[in-house]
Each structure stands twice: as structure tokens, then as C-alpha cells.
Amino acid sequence: MMSQYSVFQLLRETLRGHTGWRPAWRDPAPKQRYDVVIVGGGGHGLATAYYLAKEHGITNVAVVEKGYLGGGNVGRNTTIVRANYMLPGNQRFYSKSLALWEGLEQELNFNLMMSQRGVLNLAHTDGQVDMFARRANAMRLHGDDAEIWSPEKIAAEVPMLDLDSARFPVRGGLMHKRGGTARHDGVAWGYARAADRLGVDIIQNCEVTAIERDPQGRITGVDTTKGRIKTGKVGLAVAGHTSQVAQMAGLRLPIETHLLQAFVTEGLKPILDQVVTFAAGHFYISQSDKGGLVFGSSLDGYNSYTARGNLPMVEHTAEAAMSLMPCIGRLRLLRHWGGVMDMTMDGSPIISTTHVPGLYLNGGWCYGGFKATPGSGWCFAHTIARDQPHPIGADLRLDRFMTGRELDEAGTGAQPNLH
């Protein structure tokens, strides 16, 4: 039996050379049949399995993962947690997700290093400040925190910024104090361990090769590289490969797959205490607990499944960094990497039943899926268990494109690379 993590346990293991630690999760062979099969052992899939077991009492659940658990976007994002949206359909959902983050570590008995250090969005014109105010007021009306910071306050709180020589002046900012960062891998591991303890089978290195349906079209199971698994309900949580996996069930989606790069510098002593974003360069940056400055900007801009980015966006990101933080010039980029994003046509995610009975879809997280992990699992588990959307995720349904109820925060329309 797996033990509870605690200071006491750590001390005890210290005395016996850490020989008593047991695997954080089992490595089971797939059973013949499950009530629910979740495809995708990333943050969202694991969270879904956890909440299915914990909130809905459905424990005969398998999470099947092509590679290793947490190997997708949950392990290669810039770790930002926030609930700072404008449109009610989005903010309602992210507000719930943030509430779940708070206290998640104790619930999962796993330190996710959730750091509510604040997320600051910088505005460059008075019009942008007003737009941020509209968003901030929406957040406040949802019961979430938001403040508008003056340029003077920003200069005092964020010494890395050089506001005097900026191409785009800083006229104000939207501060969301409950936003921040969390240790991305820990989220996958924490949910995996907690789900496993509730009886969920996490099956790694197990690729789904077909989704099986009966003559009426109902889901009957999945075929995998570890054999056939029977189930009446399949939940897809494979962001980055959603189009490909959904195709196995004949589903065509409002999704294009894109490439987003992320960057980290060498470790430094503390120099930046918030998450800071600025729209002029689509740039965002924070400092990890290990000391590296973690940052990114826009999508590379073309459809891609490669997870390998190119120099134009590397250059643009560096330029954006140098536009407002010219002290970063002497700091050195240690590593940059790419992730595969499913970008939807309106820039908002999809948690939905589908026209295939027994098939449920969770995807289209664009580049913001990490912060959604708890909320996504929460809503998706509900959708799978009850066969209907959770009220807080109701606006994220797939049919919104048919009904003309897109959730377009950026207002750029059906052009995924601009969201």
C-alpha cells in the first residue's frame, strides 16, 4: 500500500536511506473491460479519471497513454495558472478551475508548488486599459480578484521592466493576484498517484489504434497496442493529437494543430516575482523556483505536428523580451522547445458530448490548457458520468460553432493562428 507523504514519512525514510519509498502508481496490465476508458495520460486525462473516481464513484476506469504519463503538453508548458478571462462562458469555467487549484496539493497529497504570485497583463494604450477594465470587472463579477495597476505601481513592483525606453509605453496593467505558477510535471504525477490510489488503472506505453463501435454507432471499446479493451464510454483527452484520434471515430473537428515554442534561461537568483505578459509582443515571462526565466510568445503560425519550432519565432520572442526588459540581453537562453497545440477556431476549448454515443471530447486547449487541468477534469468527468455538460462548462460545447455562439476572446474569428 502506498504511503501518505508527510514530513514524518520523509524523516523516517531519511533514517533508512530512502529504501522504503514505493512506486507512486502501479503499472497494471489492462483489464478486459472498464466502465470508462480515458485516452490520454496527460494532466487532463488523469484529472478526469481522478474526478470520475472521487466525485462520481466510477473507479473501474483506465487511462491509456501512448508514451509515458505527463509526456505531452502538461510537461512542456510555461506553468501559468490564472482565471483572467472576459467572456462569461470562459471565466465561469476558469474561475472554477482556479478554485480547484487552491487546495489541490493537500487534496492530492502532492506538492504542486502552486505559487499564487500574481499575473500582470500590461496595457500599452488607454483603450487597452479600458479593455482590461472590462475584463477585470467581469472577473470581479465572477467573484475573482482583479486590480488595475498604474504605470508607477508597475515600475515599482517589476524592476526588470524598463519603461523609459519602451517602443510601446506601459499605460497600466491588469493584476490578477491569485494567478501564478505551478510545477507542471507535479500536476500530472499528483493526479496520477491520487487516481491510482482510488483504483484507476494507468496504462503507459499503450497506444490506441482503433475506436470500436457497434452497428448502431455506439462505442464498444478501443483497440490498443496492449490488446482490445471493452468499454461503453471513451473520453478523449489527447490535446495536440485530438484531430488524429478523433478521426478514428470519424469525427472532424474545428481544430488546427499548431506549434508553440517556450524558452528558459539559465538559473538566476530571484529577479522577477510575478508572471508578466505584454500584448505588444504576445510575450509572457515568469521565473521558476529553480531560477530560470521561463518565457514565450506567439505560435510559430503554421500547422505542425513536429514540436520543433523555427528561428523567426525565436528571434521575435527575444525581441519582445528586449523591448521591455533589456536587462535580459546578457542572460542566456538555456533551452527552447516546442509543443503541439490544438487550436480551435474561436480560441476556446471544447468539453463535449459528440454525435457518437459513448464518445466524449476534451480538447482544443490552444496554448492555455495547463491552468485548466483541474476544471477540465472536473467538467469532463461530469460530462462522461452524466452524459451531459457540467453547467460551468456548458458554453464549451462542440455545437457552439453551429449555433453561432463562439467564445472568441481575441475577436479574430476563425483563424486559429491568431488566437
Binding site: 462569461p88 479600458d130 472590462r134 539559465e266 523580451a321 540581453g329 475577436g411
Partner: protein
């Protein structure tokens, strides 16, 4: 043992090496003034001064010494420079020594020797891999307040400055037939033969000198020291016109389509820039980046003085530095012999510990005093700030001040792997070697696992031949030199020495030990990626170049698999760290993005304009007079315009020239309203939708002549609309005979607004009949000023006044503006800016970016009437989806204070009165707001659910974040002259 004189024990040899003893250099390290020579690195200079202790580890602050001589150095990270040039985390091994260099060790307090945080080392047993996931959770609020700040302070490496980087960086493109990465024997040979054949070759090496391993080893080529061959080849390369040699250039990333990124370091004084970043587009790439030696981790292997054998040889042979006086060489392969030979010949007592039971001293070592312990391993070490002894597995204790460890070699497959290619495990050589190339590249020499100089030269020549052949050029007869290599003896795999695993370091910078990897395995973190992420192995500044492969082998052993089966983590760029400043080049701060200025910018600036950002543009906001605030100026300008006449620069509006017989058809398809019957000399307002039915842009388009139109767009959407029209004409309807051209920059535009505008323009154009009958609202005319300067006149109004827009060729804009002010002096003509423009358009109820936010429909804006039902247009069908056609959507309304005159702020939300202030009661928002000098109160535009049916109702405009909660009355958005009599008069 005989007594040794000072010169025999001093670290720096009196002769040999590639340093220039005639050029001494002074530098400081942690405040101590030291000397070195030209040709030294900071590392070799420190060692020459007897300094091994160079840093503290990241987690438990253990004392650490120099280990390597290249980019795999994990320990000796320095903070260089002072003030705003302070640069953290530079490996001393890659820093060329310069005179006056200031270096400091990092991550220690108060000093490198006595670091108080080393006390945490006592707690090290409590801090195995991933311990932080298991604790610091209680109480929950303590993480941000207590634990995290403490962890952040303890972690991190160097301290950085927040002062802007004062140095300059440059960047550029290069193109070549063949890019050779690495100038060792393989790279030099490839570049030489390709260059002789006339290929355009770039040879790049991160080192300041060409030669690679030939600089650090005592090898010979054609019977003479290899360095002579290097000098000869370098000389010939310099003379070849088509060959570009780039020393100090590190090729850090390999991207798609054979494009590589490289950074060239420049001595600042001479070049004015600190570094140059190059994007190199190469026809073909030869990777000759060599190989890095790996350690044999053993218990207590992290003491200063325990180094890689290749580094020990390099410091001795290239930099003439003895890194110890009494050495133990620990090897699992024949490199132990060459190390023992070189050390012994330099007068250092050597004991060789060879893990191979069958190791025999080769002939080369006969006559040298080298003791061999065959079939033995090191199982422990002693020493505080420097190793003083090691213990062997048979209990033998060997006093020493230097341990040279030779664990075998890892080819530098990083660039190859960055292309998406998969390195494969070579179980004969026990290392990862390049796999199937994905791009037009090949790896040669040690970089391909072919470790002898002979193999390197053969491979390099072969790569040159392939490149020559691929270009169809004649292949020359090869005449290759003959190196004398020691026989390539096979080593045996020895990935670590068992024992105290918790003190056997795989990644000394991050304090990752063999025990950590085994713990990861025990806890289920078994894939290499889980191992990396759980233990942080390979995430330090050397990115695993030091100990990653050993760590994978430990995991493989724990899992009962081969290293090949466990696999490797993904290699990501950059190969070595790159300054962010170099990547940005000159695009920083004010030059981050281009600045667009209206042709009237200087004219406005001369009149005291204050400017505002509008996308890439700067537009004049207002023209304050002495003592006037921006706000006061805007209100004065508004009133003066409404009562007399004002002129405003509108040059930034997008202008598109449309010509061709099918132009009316194009307009009909891209605008929602009808365009077929627009007469010559008339303008019309148009609304453009996206295909999804939302409003994309609005503007007026004028018919200048049969089949010739002039379209205007908003400033912000101009590029998008242009691109949209081009797409329609090229991709969607190529059958339409229409040409479009952006003429935004060709014409200066001035709005002339106010009751005196006609009189003013009549003075400018005395020969033109501008009467309302002759030139009515929405009329368009083309005229010429004196000298034939063309002028276009449009009678359109954004302010709601009698108004015109005048276009003249861009260069004439300032003159026209001056002329208008001069002619209109007695009419009260003034310039007005964006703020007054905005006040007047809100008073008039015209929409701009605040309303056209990409989510509104024509009906939302009260313009459902512009949606023609008689024709098809882009967005027609999808605008009819139920969610878009929903009558309860928020609609554009006017808002004014219900009583009193409180400020209404844009960004407020609209809620009914008497409800809770929560999202459940949210009914809309305020999109634009101003104080109206015309009406003497605050007014606003906003969107309110069912807005059209709620005129006269009082709602709340709530701005929680800025503390406003105002009762507002819902009114028509057309506050000013709703019948339009003024603009039509």
C-alpha cells in the same frame, strides 16, 4: 623522492602550450588579482594559479572544482563584469582571458571557501530527488510566504542585474554550399577539400583557435606535431576566397530546411558589438563537433581536483598547466594510458587505476614511472577543498591532489538530433551515434563515433567529396595526411562505481546522484523523461553533457534493460547557452518594431501635438496650448470645431485603390450593403463582415470614375482588409477583373470639419462650386491645386458636422495643412487631434475599435438595415446562425448620467438597478465614454441586452476595479444631431 624546485611544482610549465608568455594578462577572481597569458581561458588561468575550487553546487552548496575544459563543465560558473555589464553563469572554460577581466564565483555566501549555505549539506540525506513533492504542504498558506521564498533564494545560480544591457548586438543572414561545424581534424579536412574545389564553405568553431582536439593532444600528423598541420591548413583556408572561417562561433541550433543558428563572439572594443547572431542557410551541413569525455562516477567523486582526463591533458598540452603534482588516473579505456604518459612526462607522479582486469601498460609508457592497478576501481575520496586521497576497492589508499577520470566518449549528436533525427546506441562503442539524417547533413569523425584522427580525416574528406559531387563539380584527387594515433583500444563499459550511491554524483551542478536515479526507479519514474524531470538530471546549464549518459545507464541497469532500450531524452537547442540579446539583434526597446508616422507627424509636432500609439502608428492626440491639460485641449478643440472649423490628420486611415470592370461586383461581395448603383462622384458607407458573420471593418468607399474606386478602412484593420481583398481576388474569385493596391502611404488625409468648413475649402478651391446642391453630402470630387497637385475631396463626416476629407499626395500634406490654417484664420480654424475626434464621434454615435471588437454583429451595432437581402456577401449565411441572430444580444445604446454628472468609464459593466453585483445579473458593458463639452455631461456608448427596447431605463454602470458605480439612463447612441441636418446642410 627527490626535492622538487619551485618551477617544477608551479602549475604553469615554463615552456610549451599555445599560450603567449610574452603577453601577460591581469584579472581578478573573487577580488584577488591574478595573472595569466594571452591564449588562456579563465579556467586555464585559474588552474595556472593553483585554483581548483571554482563554485558551489546548486542544491546543497558543496564545494566544486573545475572538471572539464569545454562546454561540459558543470561547476565553474562565473559571474563576469561589473555594473550593467554583469553577466552571470559563464563557464570559465569557455571564457577567453582578457586583460582586466573581473570574475566572481557564484551561489555562495559569504565566500567561496566558507559558504554558510553549505550547512544544508548536513541535511542532504533528507533531500533526495523529488523530496519537495512530498513536503512543504502544511499549512497551505506557508508556501508563498515561507517555503517558496527560501527555496528561490537558495536555488538559482548567479545574480543578474536589472539594468538595461548597454551592449549592442548584430544579426544577419549567411548562405553557403557547405557549413562545417567544428574545426578539428575532420572539420578542417572537410572545409579544406571543399574549399579547394571552389565550394562556398563556412567553417565555424566555438573555440578561438582552429584545431579542436589536435590542440589538446600530443598527436602527430605526417611525422610532425599536429599543431603544425593545423597552422598550415588554417593558413590555406584563409587564402581560399570561397571559404569563410568563423572562430568563436557556436552553431547552437539546427532548424528546418537546413537553416542553422550561430552566435559569433566579438571582442567588444574592436567591433562595437558584443555578439553577432547569424542565421545560416546551408546547402549541406557537415557536423564535426567532436565528442565529449564522460566521467566514471564513484563515491565522493565531486571533490575539487577530480577532473576529466581529457581536461587534464588539455590543460597540460594546450595551456601548459599542471593541474596537480600527484595524480591518480582512473580509466576504463586506453585514454588512461595517454593521460598517464602526458602527466608523467610533465614530471607528475602517476598511479593508473584501470577497471579492466586485462589492462597492460603499452610500450609508450615504458620507462615512465607509472604504477598500474589493474581491474580496480575508486570507491571513495578524501579532502575538503581539494582531493587528498582516493581509496580503491581493494582498500588501497592513494594520496593525491589530482584524479583524472577517463570514462569514454559521447559523440556530440545534439545538432543532428535537433533536426528530429534519432541518435542510435552503438553497443560496440558504448555511445549514442548519429542515426538516419532527416536533413542534408552528415556527421564525421568523433562526432560520428569515429574517434581516431585517421578516421576523422577520412570522414572529413569523404564529406567534402559528397558535397562537391552533389553540386556536380569535379572531384579532386585526394591526398590525405597520415596521423599517428595510438591504437584505438576498446574500453569496457563502466557507468558508475557502486558504493555510497548518495555521494556518487552524476550531475554535480544539480547534486544529482546515482541514489537519486535509483530512487526515481523505485518510485516509478522510470522512463528517461520521468527520470530527468524527477531528479533534474540533465537540466543544469550543461544540459546533461557531463553525466546524462551515465544516468541513463544507471536507470537501464535498474530496469534490467540496455541503454538502447531505455533511450535518450530529446536534445533541444541551443547546444550551448545563447545570449537573449544576440537573438534580438538591434530590435530592442524603441527599435523593437517599426514606427509608422503620418506625413503630418512633424507638422503636428511643431504645433505642440501630444502623440498616442495606434498599432504601429503614432497619431496626434491633441494640441494643448500653454497651461492646458490634454483633456482641456481636447474639449477646446471639440467646441471650436463644432462652432467654427477644425482640421485633423486622418492620414493613417487605410486607403485602397480599386480598379477594374468588376470592381462594383467585388464591393458588392465584400460589403453587406449594395454597391452596384453608386454613381461616379459619390461615396457610400460600407460594412464588411468576416465569413463568420461578425463585423470586420467599416469605412467609406468612393467611386472616382467608371471602374475606379477609393476604399477607406479603419487604421487598425487596414492591413487585414487589404490582405482580405487580395485573397478574395486571387484565391476565391480569380475570375473577377479587378486590381487592388494599398495607397495609404501615398495620400495625406485631412478632415476639415465644422460649420465653417465649406467656407474654408471654398477659399482653397475658389473655382469649384461647393454649394450643397453642387457638392452634397457624400459627394466626391477630384481637383488640382496650383502647380497641378492633385487633390481629392470627399464630403464625409465622422464628427457629425458639415465636414470634408481632403487627400493630397503625402508630401504635400504639411503644406496643405498650413494653407488651410492660414486661409481659415479668420474662420477660427484650428488643428484638432484624436481625442477631440473621439469625443465628437461618441457624441454622434459612430463606432470605432471599442465597438468593432470582432465579436459584434451588424445588428448589435444597430446596422441590421445595412445587411442587404437582395444579394450575397461574405458573412451573409453564418450571420444568421441562431446565436448571432438572437434578439436578446447586447445592442449598441447611448448612456448618460441619470442625475448629476458622474464619470462613466469605458470598461464598466451594465447591471440592472437593485440586483446583486454578480455575473448573474451582468447585462452588458460600456465600450466608449467621454465627458461631452457639447452637452456638458458624461456620455457613453455601450452594449446592453435588448438595448433597443430599453430606452429611458436606468441601469448601473459598474466599474469595480476603479471604484465607479453610476446610475445611467439608456438613450439613443446618436446624441448629437440625430437627424443629420448638420452634416447634410
Amino acid at each position: 623522492m627527490r626535492d622538487l624546485s619551485d618551477t617544477e611544482t608551479a602549475p604553469r610549465l615554463t615552456q610549451g602550450g599555445r599560450i603567449d608568455r610574452s603577453r601577460p594578462l591581469t584579472f581578478t577572481f573573487d577580488g584577488r588579482t591574478l595573472t595569466g597569458f594571452a591564449g588562456d581561458t579563465l579556467a586555464s588561468a585559474l588552474l595556472a594559479n593553483g585554483i581548483h575550487l571554482a563554485g558551489r553546487s546548486f542544491k546543497v552548496h558543496r564545494p566544486r572544482g573545475l572538471v572539464g575544459h569545454r562546454e561540459n563543465e558543470p561547476n565553474a560558473l562565473m559571474r563576469l563584469g561589473t555594473g550593467d555589464r554583469l553577466t552571470p553563469n559563464l563557464p570559465a572554460t569557455l571564457v577567453e582571458l582578457t586583460d582586466g577581466l573581473v570574475a566572481e564565483s557564484q551561489n555562495r555566501w559569504p565566500s567561496l571557501k566558507y559558504d554558510l549555505q553549505a550547512a544544508s549539506g548536513l541535511l542532504k540525506p533528507m533531500f533526495p530527488a523529488g523530496f519537495y513533492y512530498k513536503t512543504f504542504m502544511w499549512p497551505a498558506a506557508f508556501w508563498e510566504k515561507l517555503y517558496e521564498p527560501a527555496i528561490r533564494r537558495a536555488a538559482g545560480l548567479g545574480r543578474a542585474t536589472t539594468a538595461p544591457d548597454p551592449d549592442r548586438y548584430e544579426r544577419g543572414f549567411k548562405h553557403c554550399d557547405l557549413l562545417v561545424v567544428g574545426a578539428g581534424p575532420a572539420g578542417l579536412t572537410a572545409a579544406l577539400w571543399a574549399g579547394r574545389a571552389g565550394l562556398h564553405v563556412i567553417l565555424a568553431d566555438q573555440d578561438s583557435e582552429l584545431g579542436g582536439s589536435l590542440l589538446t593532444e600530443r598527436s602527430t600528423i605526417d611525422g610532425e606535431p599536429a599543431s603544425l598541420w593545423v597552422d598550415r591548413v588554417a593558413g590555406e583556408l584563409a587564402r581560399l576566397d570561397t571559404v569563410e572561417v568563423m572562430p568563436r562561433t557556436s552553431v547552437f541550433g539546427y532548424y528546418d530546411h537546413n537553416i542553422l543558428g550561430a552566435v559569433e563572439r566579438l571582442p567588444t572594443a574592436e567591433h562595437g558589438a558584443r555578439e553577432r547572431y547569424w542565421r545560416i542557410e546551408a546547402g549541406r551541413v557537415t557536423l564535426a563537433a567532436g565528442a565529449l569525455e564522460r566521467p566514471i562516477p564513484f563515491p565522493d567523486n565531486d571533490r575539487p581536483g577530480i577532473m576529466l582526463a581529457s581536461a587534464v591533458r588539455a590543460y597540460l598540452n594546450r595551456w601548459a598547466v599542471r593541474t596537480g603534482t600527484r595524480a591518480v588516473v582512473f580509466a576504463n579505456n586506453d585514454d588512461g594510458f595517454s593521460t598517464a604518459r602526458d602527466l608523467s612526462q610533465a614530471g607528475i607522479a602517476v598511479t593508473l587505476v584501470d577497471s579492466r582486469a586485462d589492462a597492460e601498460l603499452p610500450r609508450a609508457l615504458t620507462g615512465l614511472e607509472v604504477t598500474l592497478h589493474r581491474g580496480r576501481t575508486i570507491v571513495g575520496s578524501k579532502g575538503r577543498h581539494r582531493v587528498s586521497a582516493v581509496t580503491l576497492d581493494d582498500g588501497t589508499r592513494l594520496p593525491c591532489d589530482l584524479v583524472a577520470v577517463a570514462g569514454g566518449w559521447n559523440p556530440v549528436v545534439n545538432l543532428h538530433s535537433q533536426t528530429g533525427a534519432r541518435p542510435r546506441w552503438d553497443s560496440i562503442r558504448d555511445c549514442f551515434v548519429p542515426g538516419q539524417p532527416r536533413q542534408n547533413e552528415s556527421s564525421v569523425g568523433a562526432c560520428a563515433g569515429r574517434f581516431t584522427t585517421a578516421e576523422a580525416i577520412q570522414d572529413g574528406a569523404h564529406a567534402a567529396v559528397e558535397a562537391i559531387r552533389a553540386l556536380g563539380k569535379p572531384v579532386p584527387e585526394l591526398d590525405l595526411p597520415v596521423p599517428e594515433d595510438p591504437p584505438a583500444g576498446r574500453g569496457e563499459a563502466l557507468w558508475y562505481v557502486g558504493g555510497r550511491d548518495s555521494h556518487t554524483f552524476l550531475d554535480p551542478q544539480h547534486d544529482v546522484t546515482v541514489a537519486d536515479v535509483k530512487l526515481a526507479h523505485r518510485e516509478g519514474y522510470r522512463s528517461v523523461e520521468h527520470m530527468k524531470r524527477y531528479t533534474t538530471l540533465g537540466m543544469a546549464t550543461d544540459q546533461g553533457r557531463f553525466g546524462n549518459v551515465n544516468g541513463m545507464a544507471v536507470m537501464a541497469e535498474a530496469r534490467g534493460l540496455s541503454v538502447a532500450e531505455v533511450g535518450t531524452t530529446t536534445f533541444r537547442p541551443p547546444y550551448t547557452p545563447v545570449s537573449v540579446g544576440a537573438l534580438a539583434g538591434r530590435k530592442r526597446q524603441r527599435t523593437f518594431m517599426p514606427l509608422r508616422r503620418s506625413p503630418l507627424h512633424d507638422w503636428a509636432a511643431d504645433r505642440g501635438a501630444i502623440f498616442a500609439e495606434a498599432g504601429l502608428w503614432q497619431r496626434s492626440r491633441a494640441f494643448p496650448q500653454a497651461g492646458e491639460s490634454l483633456r482641456e485641449a481636447a474639449f477646446r478643440e471639440t467646441t471650436q470645431t463644432r462652432t467654427h472649423v477644425g482640421i485633423c490628420d486622418v492620414s493613417t486611415l487605410g486607403k485602397i485603390d480599386i480598379q477594374g470592370p468588376d470592381a462594383p461586383e467585388l464591393l458588392n461581395r465584400v460589403y453587406t450593403n449594395g454597391w452596384k448603383r453608386l454613381a461616379v462622384g459619390r461615396a457610400r458607407y460600407g460594412l464588411m463582415l468576416r465569413e463568420d458573420g461578425h463585423v470586420m471593418d467599416d469605412g467609406t468607399t468612393s467611386c472616382l470614375a467608371e471602374g475606379h474606386y477609393h476604399m477607406t478602412t479603419t487604421t487598425g484593420q487596414a492591413p487585414k482588409v487589404m490582405s482580405h481583398l487580395e485573397w478574395c481576388l486571387q484565391a476565391l474569385w480569380p475570375e473577377l477583373d479587378v486590381q487592388v493596391q494599398s495607397v495609404t502611404d501615398q495620400w495625406a488625409g485631412l478632415a476639415v470639419a465644422g460649420p465653417n468648413s465649406r467656407a474654408l475649402l471654398q477659399r482653397l478651391l475658389p473655382g469649384v462650386d461647393l454649394s450643397n446642391a453642387a457638392f452634397p453630402f457624400m459627394g466626391v470630387g477630384r481637383y488640382a491645386l496650383a502647380g497641378g497637385v492633385p487633390l481629392r475631396l470627399f464630403r464625409i463626416s465622422f464628427s457629425g458636422e458639415l465636414a470634408y476629407e481632403v487627400n493630397v499626395p503625402a508630401d504635400y500634406g504639411p503644406a496643405l495643412a498650413d494653407k488651410l490654417l492660414e486661409l481659415g484664420e479668420d474662420l477660427g480654424a484650428i488643428p484638432y487631434g484624436l481625442e477631440a475626434l473621439d469625443v465628437m464621434r461618441i457624441e454622434k454615435g459612430h463606432v470605432t475599435a471599442g465597438e468593432l471588437d470582432g465579436r459584434t454583429t451588424a445588428a448589435d451595432l444597430g446596422m441590421a438595415g445595412l445587411m442587404s437581402s437582395k444579394k450575397d456577401f461574405i458573412g451573409r449565411v453564418l450571420a444568421q446562425r441562431p446565436g448571432m441572430a438572437d434578439p436578446s444580444r447586447p445592442r449598441l445604446v447611448g448612456l448618460q448620467c441619470a442625475d448629476g454628472d458622474e464619470r462613466i468609464r469605458a470598461g464598466s459593466h451594465l447591471l440592472p438597478t437593485g440586483t446583486q453585483t454578480t455575473i448573474d445579473f451582468d447585462e452588458g458593458w460600456v465600450s466608449s465614454a467621454t465627458w461631452s463639452p457639447t452637452f456638458g455631461r458624461h456620455i457613453a456608448l455601450g452594449f446592453l441586452k435588448n438595448g433597443g427596447e430599453r430606452m429611458g431605463e436606468v441601469v448601473r454602470a459598474v466599474d469595480l476595479v476603479r471604484g465607479h458605480d453610476v446610475q445611467v439612463e439608456v438613450v439613443s447612441p446618436h446624441f448629437y444631431d440625430p437627424e443629420g441636418t448638420r452634416q447634410r446642410g
